[in-house]
C-alpha cells in the first residue's frame, strides 16, 4: 500500500477511484500484514519443517521496491499478484485472487495451512478479506484480532484474540488449518539484515517476474464519494478553567456532533 506518510489524495475519474500519483509514491507493506508476517516467521523458526509464503497483491513494480526492505526482515518465499493496492479494491475480489494464488503454490497441503494476515488493512479497514479468503478455502476455524499464538506439542494451539475492554479471549484450536487475522501481535519489527535479504531475493525476483495480473477492478461497486478527512482547527485559549467545566464542555461538544 502507499506509504501513509505520503499525501494521499483521492482522485476520481472513470472506473475506480485512485490516489493521486499513486504509482509514483513510495509503497510499504501494510502494517497489519507486517505483524502477521513477522509472527509467521517467528513461528516457522520454532516449528521445523514449516515454511512461510508471503502472498501479496499489489502493483508489481511497487512490490519490488517494498521487497528491498521486507525481504531483509525475515525469510519467506514470495507469491506475487499484480494489481492495485490503493484501498479502493474490494475484499470480495481480492480474496478470490489470493485464494487462487495460494492454491497454485506447488505441493501446498491445505490441511496443514496456517493462514496469517492482518485483521484489517491500513488502507481500507474493512476487516473482511481474511474471513472471505478462509471461507473460499474452506477453512472455518477463524480468529480475528489475534495477538498471540502458542503451539502445543500435540499440534493444537492456543490463540489470544482481542475483545472489548482491552481484554483477550483465549481459544484452543485442535490443529491446522486455521485463519488468523492478526492485530499487532507481540513482536517488534525485525531489523533489516541484508544477508537475509540476499537469500530471499533468489526467489523474490522470479516471483515478481511470474506475477499475474488479478482482476480486482471492483466491478459493480459504486463509490458515492471519496474524500480526505478535513483538517479542522478550533483553538480557544482559556486560563484556569476547572476540570469539571472542561469535561462538561467536551461532553456538550460531543453531543452536538
Amino acid at each position: 500500500m502507499p506509504d501513509p506518510l505520503q499525501t494521499l489524495e483521492p482522485v476520481t475519474g472513470v472506473g475506480l477511484p485512485a490516489l493521486k500519483n499513486e504509482m509514483m509514491l513510495p509503497a510499504v507493506l501494510d502494517p497489519w500484514a507486517g505483524h502477521a508476517l513477522y509472527e509467521a516467521a517467528n513461528l516457522a523458526k520454532k516449528v521445523p519443517g514449516s515454511k512461510v509464503y508471503l502472498v501479496s497483491l499489489g502493483q508489481k513494480a511497487k512490490l519490488q521496491q517494498v521487497m528491498m526492505t521486507i525481504a531483509q526482515k525475515v525469510s519467506f518465499e514470495l507469491v506475487a499478484i499484480d494489481g492495485p493496492a490503493s484501498g479502493f479494491t474490494d475484499a470480495h475480489e481480492v480474496a478470490p485472487a489470493l485464494a487462487a494464488a495460494i492454491m497454485a503454490i506447488p505441493g501446498i497441503d491445505k490441511s496443514r495451512l496456517l493462514l496469517f494476515g492482518g485483521w484489517e488493512s491500513a488502507s481500507r479497514g474493512a476487516g473482511a478479506t481474511m474471513q472471505i479468503l478462509g471461507e473460499i478455502l474452506g477453512i472455518t476455524d477463524q480468529f480475528e484480532g489475534v495477538d498471540e499464538i502458542t503451539v502445543q506439542d500435540d499440534g493444537s494451539f492456543q490463540v489470544l484474540e482481542r475483545v472489548e475492554g482491552g481484554k483477550h479471549q483465549v481459544s484452543t484450536c485442535a490443529g491446522t488449518p486455521a485463519v488468523l487475522g492478526w492485530a499487532t501481535g507481540n513482536l517488534g519489527e525485525p531489523r533489516n539484515d541484508p544477508q537475509v535479504g540476499m537469500a530471499n531475493m533468489r526467489t523474490v525476483m522470479p516471483a515478481l517476474q511470474r506475477a499475474k495480473p488479478a482482476k480486482v477492478a471492483a466491478e459493480g461497486v459504486l463509490y458515492g464519494r471519496v474524500e480526505l478527512p478535513k483538517q479542522q482547527r478550533n483553538t480557544r485559549i482559556v486560563k484556569d478553567m476547572p476540570a469539571d467545566q472542561i469535561a462538561r464542555e467536551i461532553i456538550e461538544w460531543i453531543s452536538q456532533k
Partner: protein, 746 residues
Amino acid sequence: MATPSVEKPTYETIRTLPGDDVRQILWRYSDRYDLQMLVQSVRSVARGLVAHLVAEGARNTHEWTDRKNELLKAYDESGVSASFLEPEEGGFIAGPKNMVLALVAYELAWVDGGAATGALAGCLALSPIHERGTVEQKKHYMSLCAPPQPGEDRKPWRGSFCLTEPIPYVGVDTGMLNGKLRVAEWKDGEEPMLQVDKRGRFITNMGFANFVTAAVQSVDERIKGSCIVILEENDPGIFDRGTPTKKMVHQLSSTNDPIFSLKVPASRIVGGYTVKDGVIVPNFDHSEVIEAVFKRTRVTVALMTSAKLLSAIEPIIRYQRGRFRGAEQATPGTIRYDLGLQQREDALHRLVDIWAMGEASAALGFAAARCFDVLDPLEKEKNTILEEKGIRGGKSEMKFFKGVQKDAIDFLNLCAKPEEARANSTRFVELHENKLVQYAILDAVAGVLCPASKLWNTGKGNVLMREAVSLMGGYGITEDCPGFLGQKWMDSQLEATYEGPEAVQRRNLTVTMQNELFLKQFGNWIVEMRHIAAQKPGTGACALGTAMQLWLWTYKHLQHAKDPQGNKLYQSARQGVTFPMADALCWLLASRQQILDLIELEHRGPENPVVAEGLAGTVQFLTDLCHVQTARSVGEVGRICAELVHGFRRHPAWDEAGYKGCYAQDEMDLMEAFVPGLPACATDVVGLDGCHPDKAGPCANCEGLEPFQRLRARMDNCLTGAMLAKDRAAEALTKVMIPEALDYPQ
C-alpha cells in the same frame, strides 16, 4: 507583491519528489538488488536511531556516551559494518566497494554527517590493510572486524586511522611525519620487534578503537623510510586514547587526540617488509598507502554534503507552503494559505539553486564512486601484468606507462572518430581489449573525479547549505529545524576539511588534470556535449560545451603565458593560477555528469513502470535543473577564466607607452572625413594637449586573445533560455507533491 505569472505550463512537470526508482536509474544501480537493500537497511538506521539521537540532543556533548555507543551495534546489525568486507571475510557484497560506501555515506548523511563519518571511519582504518596489506593481514583484521554471525558470541573489532599529528607536524602536508619507528629488539633468526611512538590529533573512532593504523617514520638506520603500522590496544606500552576533541560538528562520531608508545612485531608493517643488508625495508612507504586509501575514501565524504543539499528540499518546501497557515488572514483556498512563501519568486529561485546544485553534486560523487568500481578490478589486473613483467616501484612503472600512454592516446583518437570510421579498425578492437590501456584511461579520469568531487561537493555545497538554512528563517538555526539543516550546514565545513582540506584537493587536481589522457578525454567530452545538445536541447549541454572549450583554451594559454615580470603563470607555486583553474574544472565536471545522468533517466526510465508513470514531468524538471546549473557553471568558468587571462596583464596607463596605442584628436578628425562616425567607436582619443577620457587608462590591448573573446561572447549568448528554465523549475516547486510529514526521526 505576488510572483509575476510565468509561462503557463503547457509542459509536464514533476509530480512527486524523485523516489528510489528514479535515483536507482540516475545513479546506475537499478539492477543491483544488493545495493538497493543496503540503502533501505542503512536508511532505517539513519532515520531511526541516528535521527532520534540528533533530535534528543546527543550532539550536545563531546563525550562518547553510552547512547552514542548504541550506534555501533546498529551499524553491525544493519550490515553497515560488514558492507566493506568480502563475503569470505564476513561481508555480504562481493566485488568493489566504492558504490557501496558511497550509498552508505549518502544515506547516513541525509540525516547526520557525523554518523556517516563514524560508520565509515572503521573502513578508513581497514583501508590501508585492504589496499596494501599482506594476505595474512587482510584475513586477520577483516575477520576480526566482521560483525558476529547469528549464534556467534564475539565483539567485533573497531579501528582508527591515525595520520594527523599535533601541530607542527602532519596535517595537510603528509610528508612531515613526527611518528617514530625504531627497532626495539632483533634476535637472530627471529621477527624484529619495533618501538612505535606516535601522537595523533583529531583521530576518528579513537574513543573505542581496538586497533589503529598509524603512519610513522623511521628514526633508526635499521629501518628504511616510512610506513603504516598496525597498533592494537593490548600491545605492551601506552595506548592512551587521549581527550575528546571539542568539535562543533559531527558529534555523533568519536574524535580524540591519542598517544601511543608501543612495542609491536615487524609483521604489523602494512604490506610487509623485506630485509636487505640488515635493514628492514617496508614494501610500501606511508605515502604510497595513503594515496591508495584517500583516492577512494574521499569520494564518500563528497557525497555526505550532496545528501545534505538534497535532503533540504523537502523540509524547505513544507516550511514555505505552511508558513502562513493558521493565521486569520490565510484561509484555505487563498494563495497565502496554499502557497505560503512559495508565492514569492526569490524563495523559489533560491530553492531551485539548491536543488540544482544538489543534483549536480550527487551526480559527480556517484560517478566518481562508479568509476572506482570499474577501476579497482582493472588495477588488480594491471598489478598482475606488471608483476609478471617484473616491473615494480614508482619510477619503473612510470617509464613503462609512457608507452601505454601512447596507445591510450591512439585509442582516444579513434574514439573521437565517428563509429562507422572505426567499425573495422582492428587497432581499435585491440586497444579496447588492452587492459593496461583501459586502466590508464580510466585512472586518468578517476584521478580527477576524486579530488574534484571532494573539493566541489563539500566546499560549494557548504555555501549552498547556508542558503538552505536561510530559507528556513529563524527556524533554520535552531536545533529543532526539520531536517536538521543548521547542523548540516556546520557539518559540511568539516567535510570540506578532513581527509585533506580544499587546498589539498586543489593541489591534487592541478596535477591530475594535466594528464594528457585526461585532457584528451575532456576534449572528446566537448563533442559529446554538443551531440547531446543536438539530440536533446534544453539541458544547457551546448553552453557547457562552449564553457569547456573556453576552459581548455585558457588552460593551454596559461601554459606559456607570463606575467609582466616574465614569470610563467602556470606553475605549481602559483596557486593563484592553478587553483582557480581546478575550481573551474569542477563546475564543468559536475554539470556534465548531471546532464549524463538525465540522459540515462530519459533512456532507461520507460523500462520501469513506476518511473515511466511520471517520466515526462520528471525529465522536464530535471532538464530545467540541468540548465539552471549549467548557467551557473558557465558563469563561474567565464569569470575565472577571464580573470586569469586578462588579470595578469598590466593595465595601460596615461603614460608614454599608453599614449602609443591611442588616437590623437587631429588624426581622428582627418579619418572622420573618410569614415563618418568613427570617433563614436574609437574611445581612446587623446587631445594634442595630452587630455584624455576620464578613466583608468587606455583600454587594454587584447592581441592574441581574440579567440578567447569570441568564445566568451558566444558563451554568454549560450545562456539564452536559462532563466526561462529557472522560472519553469520554480513553478514546478509550487506544484510538486511532498509527503505529509518528514520521515525522520521515525
